[in-house]
Symmetry: C2
Subunit: 402 residues, 2 copies
C-alpha cells in the first residue's frame, strides 16, 4: 500500500528523525522541513534587517489574506473569503457575535451537546455578555433538525467530531438551517487538511478552523475564518480593530469597516505564525485534498480492520464510523483501561491521545503517516496489552495528556 501511495513522497518533507509512530497529528501536526529555514529567514532578514519596512516590503500586511487565499481551496472557498487571524475561539466568537448582531430577533444558538467544549463555552460566554435573552440550545446529535425552529439565529457545529471522528452532513444541515431561516457556523478544526471540505458547494455561511492540527502550522498556530462572499457586506466584525478599518493608517476616530474579508482582522497579525502556516499549507496545495482524503479513508480503514482482527478480543471497541464517507482521518477505540494504554503506548513510541471517559484516539495525518505505521501501531498495541505493560502503577495516575 505504501508503494502504491501517490502521497508517499510527502513524508520526506517533514522532519522525522525518530522512530516514533506519531498518531497525534490531529492535535499537533509534525514539523515540515521547509518551516525552520522560512522562520529563520523571516526573523533574521525581514525582521532583523527590514525592520518596520517589512510590513510593506515583505508583504506582512497582506499575509492574513494571502495565506487565507491558500487555505481557501482546501475548504472549497473562493479567493477573498478566508482570513488567517486570531484563534479558533476568538474567531468563533466574532462569527457568532456577527450573526446575532445582524438578526437580533432570533435568540437561540443551536448546537449539539457533544460539540467541542470550547465551542460551547464561546457560545455560552457570548450569550452572557449580551445579557439580552439569548441562549444556547445544546441537543443530541440526532435532534438537531427538529430543534431548528424560528427562534434559532445560528446553528454552530464542529464538522468532524473530536471524540469519534464522525462527520456531519454539512450540506444537509446547512440547508436545513437555511430552511429554518438560520445561519450556520462550522468549526473545521478536525476536518481541514484531513478530508475534503466544500463550504461553498454546501452553501455554508461562516466557518473557522485551527492551523496547528492537520495543517501542520505549529504549536498555537493562528486560526482562520471563512465568510461567504454573499454575506461580506451584511455582517460586521464585533471586535472592531484598526487593521479591519478601511483606512487603518489615517487614524481617524470613527470605525469604517474595510470591504471584503479584511474587516475581520482586529489587531496586528502574528507574522511569524502566519509564515509557518503558509509553508505548511503549500504542501496541501501540491498534494490535492481529494488524494489526501482518499488516503485518510484508506489509513483509517486499515486500522479498523486490524482492530477488528486483533484488538477487539482485548476489550477494544471501535468508536468511529465504519462508513469511510462518514469518518475523518482519526479512529477512536474505547477501552476501560484506555488512559493507561495510551500512557504505556507513548513509552513504546506510539503517540496517540486519550479523551474521557475511555477513548483512545489515533489520528492518521495523510501527508506523513505510512500504511506500515498503521500496521506497526496495531502490533505495539497488541504487545502492550498482552504483556500487561499498561497495568504498571505509573500509568494509573491521571497526568494530563493534551
Amino acid at each position: 500500500m505504501d508503494a502504491a501511495d501517490p502521497l508517499a513522497a510527502f513524508r520526506d518533507r517533514f522532519v522525522i528523525d525518530d522512530d516514533v509512530i506519531y498518531l497525534d497529528g490531529n492535535s499537533l501536526g509534525r514539523l515540515p522541513r521547509a518551516t525552520p529555514p522560512r522562520i529563520a529567514e523571516l526573523v533574521a532578514q525581514e525582521w532583523g534587517r527590514g525592520l518596520i519596512r517589512s510590513w510593506m516590503d515583505a508583504d506582512w500586511m497582506n499575509s492574513p489574506l494571502r495565506v487565507g487565499d491558500k487555505i481557501a481551496p482546501l475548504i472549497g472557498a473562493a479567493p477573498g473569503e478566508v482570513l488567517v487571524t486570531d484563534t479558533t475561539s476568538v474567531d468563533l466568537f466574532k462569527l457568532l457575535g456577527a450573526v446575532l448582531q445582524a438578526e437580533p430577533r432570533r435568540r437561540v444558538l443551536l448546537t449539539e451537546q457533544q460539540n467541542f467544549p470550547t465551542d460551547l463555552y464561546v457560545a455560552d460566554g457570548l450569550t452572557r455578555l449580551l445579557a439580552s435573552g439569548h441562549k444556547v440550545r445544546a441537543v443530541p446529535r440526532d435532534a438537531l433538525r427538529d430543534a431548528l425552529d424560528a427562534d434559532v439565529a445560528v446553528l454552530t457545529l464542529t464538522h468532524v467530531d473530536f471524540r469519534t471522528a464522525e462527520v456531519h452532513d454539512m450540506a444537509a444541515l446547512t440547508a436545513a438551517a437555511h430552511d429554518a431561516g438560520a445561519r450556520v457556523v462550522w468549526d473545521l478544526s478536525h476536518s481541514c487538511g484531513a478530508i475534503p471540505v466544500h463550504v461553498n458547494r454546501a452553501g455554508v455561511d461562516l466557518a473557522t478552523g485551527c492551523g496547528y492540527k492537520y495543517l501542520n502550522g505549529g504549536p498555537g498556530a493562528p486560526a482562520y475564518l471563512f465568510v461567504s462572499r454573499r454575506l461580506q457586506e451584511q455582517l460586521g466584525n464585533p471586535i472592531q480593530g484598526w487593521l479591519g478599518h478601511e483606512s487603518p493608517f489615517t487614524f481617524v476616530s470613527a470605525y469604517r469597516p474595510a470591504a471584503g474579508i479584511r474587516r475581520w482582522m482586529s489587531g496586528s497579525p502574528p507574522v511569524i505564525g502566519i509564515a509557518a502556516l503558509e509553508v505548511a499549507i503549500e504542501m496541501f496545495l501540491e498534494a490535492d485534498m481529494r488524494r489526501v482524503g482518499a488516503k485518510a479513508s484508506q489509513l483509517t480503514e486499515l486500522f479498523i480492520r486490524l482492530a477488528d482482527a486483533r484488538l477487539t478480543r482485548h476489550g477494544f471497541e471501535v468508536a468511529s464510523p465504519r462508513d469511510a464517507a462518514r469518518r475523518g482521518a482519526q479512529v477512536s477505540l474505547r477501552h476501560p483501561d484506555g488512559y493507561a494504554v495510551i500512557r504505556a503506548l507513548i513509552d513504546h513510541k506510539v503517540i496517540g491521545d486519550f479523551r474521557t471517559p475511555d477513548l483512545c484516539r489515533f489520528g492518521f495525518a495523510p501527508l506523513y503517516t505510512r500504511f506500515v505505521d498503521v500496521w506497526d501501531a496495531a502490533e505495539r498495541i497488541v504487545s502492550v496489552i498482552e504483556s500487561g505493560e499498561h497495568r504498571r502503577a505509573e500509568y494509573a495516575e491521571r497526568a494530563f495528556i493534551t
Copy 2:
C-alpha cells in the same frame, strides 16, 4: 553620554549589522540576538522532536503565565496578575466586556477623543454588539475628569499618547475614576518597556499592552493583559475558551472559569510568539525599568535640545511635552512637509514614522539607541531639509508608512 550610559552594553545584544539609525522601536522593536537561536531550538527540538509532549515537557501550557510573570515587574504588577494572550485589540475587548458585564447599570465607556483609534473602535464595537444602550463618550483630554459621572462604567485610556508621547497621570485619573465608582482599563502599548509603569501603586484595575513595540517581541507578537488580584474572582472573561476553563482536559460541557489570571486565556497560546517575547523581556529584567526610563528621558531631552537649536528654524515644531516626567520615549515634531521628510529620511537611513496630519515621530528605544544616534539623526534631518531632498516628487505620493 554614551560612555557614561549604564545600559550601553545592551546594544550589543541586538542584531544591528547595518548603519540605519532606527527610531521606530515604538512601532516594531529591533531583533534581540538571543531570539533566532531560541526560536530555532523551539521549532526543531520542542516542536519537531517533542511533538505533542512539549505541551507538558517544554511547559508550553504555562508559557502565557510564565511570561506574564516576567512582564509583571515591568509594569508594577504582582506575579499571577499578568497573562500573555491574543492581541491588544482582543484583550481590550475582553477587559471592557468584563467590566460592562459586572456593572450593567452603568452605560458609558469614557475615553479621550485622541485615544489610539483601535481603542476607540474596540469600545464602539462592543457597544454595538451589546445593543443595550451602552455608549462611548469620547471627550477632549482636559475634560476627562468632569466627564466622570455616575453613568460611567469604565474609563479607558492609553497611558502614553501615540501621537505626542504625552503621559497621562495614571494614579490621579485612576483615583478620580474610582471616586466616581468607575473602573479603569489602561492601554500600556506605548509605555511598557519605555518608561516605568506602576499599575498596583496607581490602584489600576485592568490593563493591556502589546509585545512588539518597545518590548521587542517581534512582528505581531502576542499582547498581555493585567487583572488586579482584587478583581480576579469578580470578573469573567467574555470570550470563554477551553484554556481558561478550570479543567480544560476533562472536556466537560459547562464552562467553569479557572481561578486567577488563567481564566483570561481563550484559545491555544501562540507558542512561538510567546517564546520570542520571553527572550526579549528577559533583557528588561536585567536592565531595570528605572534605568530604562531615565535613559528615555535623557535621549528625548537631547533630541528636543537639538530640535530647538537646529530644526525649529526649518519649520519644525516640538509636539511632545518638554517636561520629561510627562513624556514617553518618543519625540514628535510637527512639520508641514512631515510626510515627505520622513520618506526622504528613510532613504538616508534614519527610520522614523509619520502620523497625520503633520507629525514626524521619532522613538528612542533605550536598550539599543545611543546618544550619538540622536545627534546623527538631527544632523541628517538638517541635511535633508537644507538640501531640499524631501521635495523630490517621489516623496509626495502618500504611500503607506506603518
